[in-house]
Symmetry: C2
Subunit: 310 residues, 2 copies
């Protein structure tokens, strides 16, 4: 049983109530708590020693990553983050200075986006450090973007470059909060997700709830320098395109909008974010699954992204 | 360095913002998100295999405990719980049925209090199961009860019976949500906390932010049957009174109110909650620290409650 099958079983009987606008299955939960004009976004995520970082990772980067992952999910709903609470599990022996430095990295990122660290908990986690962050955000009532809104005929876009994140970016990435809020304010974004499990996997997380298919253009997929270098040096078992399609932890935005808006978006984006690449990588079609078009033709894309335990 | 010293260091530089009414240092964070007439409560907590439960604990009870601990913190602010998100860390090998049963226990408790399980995350935690719950609640703007409001002259009350929780109660306790909401609606509660680290430790968590001291009456402290049995059988190294003062995980409410309301409260409580014991265990005084009065006189109470790592 892989991670996604397990989640499906665990959330099948999840209790709900009248506050829930969107429950399990999207980047964040969306709640209506009665805030005039706004919905509340609610997200939790964790980083674990030996999985998301290792004993040699600089502590500030561990803290940065722990919060940045949650911020990236708030971005994927086009929301603005508000306040977080942090649970840290510590082995029986630890260096207090190391833990303080983890919080320094986390606090520094929080300050940059005006996020309050409003509380937390410490506990023992016998074999290694685990940091669980829960984050609240707000989004205008008509502006939250779900995964489920992709429509046949939409253009598919992705920010930045993909693949090779584990060579460093996964510890230092900047969540695309500013970009996502700008997108939702200026365009009608149909569906959005942050790319955390790899493009191929996360695109499927958009297609399935949208009841749609996608055709990707191989030549349009933005491959990172790290993925290209690794493929060229033979230090990666993956060709660069495959790395861009399946490597985890990119934390870029993947979104769709009506294709008639595509050129206008690309022009406006270039002016507003001249240093952030934006690529139109394909289109949403009827049906299910993903196909990849390259110079040899169109074929089904069978690769997936990263999953915990399988 | 013990848990509380570490927390003080980690929260010293915690970023804040205009939404924060009460930040780190109380049972929950209190946020003003603009909900008319209400404040938002925000709490996270975690249970860890080998610390809060073991490999023989029935899975439903693990899930129950994971959520009940957070509900107990919402109760301590006199709030009503709304929605939770759940992160579960799993070892590389696990039984899906066992994990489903954990969620069954958690879901059952959530349903009883109308709490939505609105999302979550699964991850790998190599050496054991860890469940981190983040919970939102709401409380009327003038009704949230902090730890810091105890005043000299207040009477100190505790619900239920104390000590010996690890013989079973810690896995099955009912969070005192109904009782706490009733208290805040009908009386002016000055300070409240849930007893999770032991009466002596948690009373200090009230006294310190309140700049106050307490005198406890040894004969008035409600000692659980489990603590008495363990002391009598010699199966506990602690006398029963010491167990009631220092054992962790009682999850009862400890609160103070003006002593002139004490008799009225005891009468009204008996009618409303005939099956839940309520004990007046002492009074708040000027100064700092705790003294214990018994038939031999008054002496400083030096014992503490449970702390993770010290």
């Amino acid at each position: 049983m892989n991670e996604f099958d397990l989640i499906a079983r665990l959330t099948k009987n999840a209790p709900s109530n009248a506050t829930v606008v969107a429950g399990p299955g999207d980047d964040c939960a969306v709640l209506d708590l009665g805030v005039p004009g706004q919905l509340v976004l609610f997200k939790t995520d964790a980083v674990v020693e030996g999985i998301h970082f290792d004993s040699k990772t600089p502590p500030e980067k561990i803290g940065h990553k722990a919060l940045a992952r949650c911020l990236s999910d708030i971005a994927a709903m086009a929301g603005a983050p508000t306040a977080a609470v942090v649970t840290i599990g510590l082995p029986r022996k630890f260096e207090p200075e190391f833990i303080e430095d983890i919080y320094e990295g986390l606090n520094e990122l929080a300050r940059r986006y005006g996020v309050a660290i409003a509380g937390g908990e410490t506990t023992t986690n016998p074999e290694g450090i685990l940091i669980s962050v829960a984050l609240l955000g707000l989004v205008k009532r008509d502006r939250h973007v779900l995964r489920s809104g992709a429509k046949a005929g939409d253009a598919i876009f992705v920010t930045g470059e993909l693949g090779g994140s584990l060579s460093g970016k996964h510890l230092a990435f900047e969540p695309r909060l500013t970009e996502a809020q700008w997108l939702a304010e200026n365009f009608k974004i149909h569906a959005m997700i942050d790319v955390s499990d790899g493009l191929a996997g996360d695109l499927r997380h958009v297609l399935k709830p949208s009841n749609a298919a996608a055709e990707l253009l191989a030549a349009a997929i933005p491959i990172s320098r790290q993925a290209k270098l690794a493929a060229r040096a033979g230090s990666s078992a993956k060709p660069a395109l495959l790395a861009a399609l399946t490597d985890g932890e990119d934390f870029e935005l993947l979104f769709t909008l009506a294709s008639r808006q595509a050129v206008q978006l690309l022009d406006a984006w270039k002016k507003r974010f001249p240093n952030v690449r934006l690529s139109c990588i394909g289109k949403i079609t009827a049906g299910s699954g993903i196909t990849l078009r390259d110079k040899e033709g169109v074929r089904p894309l069978t690769v997936h992204g990263y999953t915990h335990f399988s």
